[in-house]
Amino acid sequence: MLSFIAKKILTVVIILAIIILLCFMLNYTHQTDNQLGLFHELAHYCSTILSNPLDLNHTYILPDETLKSVLLPSAMRFFIVIILSILIGFPAGIYFGLLNKPILNNGIKVICVIFYSCPIVLLSLLLNNLFHSIDIELLNQPFVLERYTEHHTFSAKIEFNVPIFILVVLPCIITIQTVSKNVESVIRQNFIKISLIKNPSKFNVIMKHVLPNVIPTSMNQLLYHSSNLLFSVMMVEILFNIHGLGLFSYAAFINSNYSAISSMIVMTSFFLSFFWLIGQCLIAILYPFTLKTNASY
């Protein structure tokens, strides 16, 4: 297990090194005042990034903002969505996977497909029609920096409930689909049939044999969607004019601020890499028998 974790840590370090190098190249090619040589600039950039990756003062986009204050709200939304999708998606996926009623099962799949196919914009407009809580005029204003300073004017209800609801829909459906598919394939295996014959309690068989085979595989597949989830979080932040990574990156994009963008890339990469690493290590610690399977991917 230790070698598996060490291998994963090494992978993350290599990935981060590549990303820091790419970001440095992006930053260096668009800097006008390159006084030092290439290697000295690289050393300086790396030391700045590694000493304080959450310091944004060198980006000059929002002098009073630190990246910590930009990252934390988005990270909070990201984790809330993940926790909610695990809490809703896993039990629902297991239940639907075990459900042996084709009509009900197909009905649930159709509902999942309908929600999955909804663009974020449509969901926002429908919620606006339902609750009249979102100001649609916001979406028409092109100057994000002006909007960026106005985020305090919106009620806490809009800042929290509606975006979280929109964000939870897609990961929840992906979790339900992945888990139910894995449950369906696991319960067809011969060892489950034998254990059902040996052990009359269905609950015990599910807890002892089905779940340990389903959870690691599903978690592994779901970890690949973490980047897309952060992308959705950023998009919803721009859409609802909420303080966070999305609005900050939009502001950086409009101002063509390469240093801010490169800092954003480094920071999101750190965040996602550590999330991925922690996820992989948790799977390895909780279900050590899956190490052999995971090692090949």
Partner: protein
């Protein structure tokens, strides 16, 4: 009539019977498949016949801000009404829909090719497998939004690079899922038996291919859906500087000004995306049901 003609007629009859049987068994007995296939066929027909069916001339200017035809002041000739410049919204919708579909199909096709090449090399050579995994991991940790921003700032008004950035963001999950399904299929006993018989790798792949097709199509549908949603949302926020390109996301953005007087201008673009995804996902669901029925 010569005997060969009789044989040809019999063959033609048997082919027709087989096709009829296939349609009955796989298409018409499966509601999802039937809705999905016929829906997609109608979209394809609409795609190729729009220029014959409708006179999509956006240079024609009518009264500005007309409501949809079923509203009180609506005009029958402008089904969804007109925008602030007097252009017909229905024609804008058709043009944007065609363009978005083409962009999504192009991106999915590129990603399918790249995915196939990566999967092939990863399967054949173990060292390349490690390098490819590392390469894909770099793309996993950069969110699609940031990669699109970087590319649009570096390369300017370059649509292809933006599409590649979106596609590449979804490529790792696609490649991983395909790899998993191939891995689990190649671990089955019939492949092991073939291997012991000394069957070559190519023939092993040929024998496993029918079992992999449905899963491959499902993954392709998931990739297509994710790319379509991403393109729509990215063009909605005007990332990538593709301002002159008609697109459903851009249409949603421009039509939001009319939302209070004509909500269908925005909603129609959203529903186009939604119905396309529902239809294509229905085919995927149908395939899933068919493969489950075949397994018993």
């Amino acid at each position: 009539m010569r005997p060969t003609d009789v044989i040809n007629m019999t063959n033609a009859h048997s082919i027709f019977t087989d096709m009829n049987h296939w349609f009955r068994k796989h298409l018409h007995q499966n509601l999802f498949m039937a809705i999905g296939i016929y829906g997609i066929l109608s979209i394809i027909t609409l795609y190729f016949c729009t220029e014959w069916l409708f006179d999509m001339n956006l240079s024609t200017i009518s009264n500005a801000n007309l409501p949809p035809s079923w509203y009180e002041n609506g005009v029958v000739s402008h089904f969804l009404g007109t925008d602030a410049k007097g252009h017909d919204i229905f024609y804008i919708l058709l043009l944007s829909y065609k363009s978005t579909l083409l962009l999504t199909l192009r991106t999915t096709f590129y990603m399918m090719l790249i995915g196939a090449i990566f999967n092939y090399f990863a399967y054949r050579f173990k060292i390349i497998h490690v390098i490819i995994n590392l390469f894909l991991s770099v793309f996993i940790v950069i969110t699609p939004l940031l990669s699109v921003i970087v590319l649009s700032l570096l390369l300017g008004d370059n649509l292809s690079s933006m599409l590649i950035a979106i596609g590449v963001a979804y490529l790792p999950a696609f490649i991983n899922n395909i790899e998993r399904s191939v891995h689990s299929e190649f671990n089955k006993k019939y492949i092991l038996a073939d291997r012991l018989d000394g069957v070559s790798g190519f023939h092993l792949f040929i024998s496993a291919a029918p079992n992999l097709v449905s899963n491959y199509f499902m993954q392709l549908v998931a990739l297509f859906s994710q790319i379509l949603l991403a393109i729509t949302v990215i063009t909605f926020f005007n990332f990538g500087f593709i301002t002159h390109h008609p697109d459903l996301g851009a249409m949603m953005r421009t039509m939001l000004i009319l939302y209070s007087s004509n909500p269908w201008a925005t909603l129609s673009a959203c529903f186009c995306v939604m119905f396309t995804l529902i239809l294509i996902n229905f085919i995927s669901l149908g395939l899933q049901l068919n493969s489950r029925q075949e397994r018993g």
